[in-house]
Symmetry: C2
Subunit: 152 residues, 2 copies
Amino acid sequence: MLRKLALSFILIVATVGTSAVQAQDVDAEDTIAYRQSLYKLIFWNFGTIAGMARERIPFDRDEFRLRALRVSNFSRQLAEGYAEGSDSGAPTDARPEIWTNRADFDAKLADFQREAHKLYSMSAEAEVAALKQQFGVLGGTCKGCHDSYRKD
Amino acid sequence: MLRKLALSFILIVATVGTSAVQAQDVDAEDTIAYRQSLYKLIFWNFGTIAGMARERIPFDRDEFRLRALRVSNFSRQLAEGYAEGSDSGAPTDARPEIWTNRADFDAKLADFQREAHKLYSMSAEAEVAALKQQFGVLGGTCKGCHDSYRKD
């Protein structure tokens, strides 16, 4: 019986994935701090990309590519920062609609992930003009989510 | 002359690396927030590793490996969070000795990076006992730095 229970638990963890593994050790306050930290790091790295796209700093392909990779990686770490129950518990700019319109929120997050990965993929060889354009597309996915799900 | 100046600037950026690129857009407060965010993410992901190493949650190799990769990646992003001038400007647990004993601090950071990468490398195939041991070694590199460079 215990073994069966343990197996069920493992299956649940495997099915629900990362959130279930995390859920045992973290609370809403930690989860909110986790996602806010991710946004700080995204913003930090995106800043270098933006600086190059806007020609405020010299274009450096290796540096651009490194920052694009980091933003892409961070984008895939966001979902577990929006676990059920983390709509409150610490000051947060996240609107409660994230948890009531979850499918739409997840779709917007997927937009961000897809375009961030595309920017990274392109950065190996694409011309600067194309990277600037994709930088705009990526920025649009940030805005697309913030307009609906971030408090003013 | 202008072209020569521009070239010098590019060379400086290339020599000094990432910090120089960042330094144009960020201030001490942002830099402190950046490194604190990294530590939050390291702690978050290390928590899952620790949970498995201490058998509080079931061992899951894919999950362990994913978390080890993230910790390793984060470890390589820390250095730019200790730019010159970021010893103050916001509440921080970083001791000023980081900037006066820089070579020793950098060596301790390199210890952390090396052992984090080793844990990730091992995680593909190593037995759980070996991973637990390396988890201990990695934790030791955290403590090794905190004892000298983090305020109590």
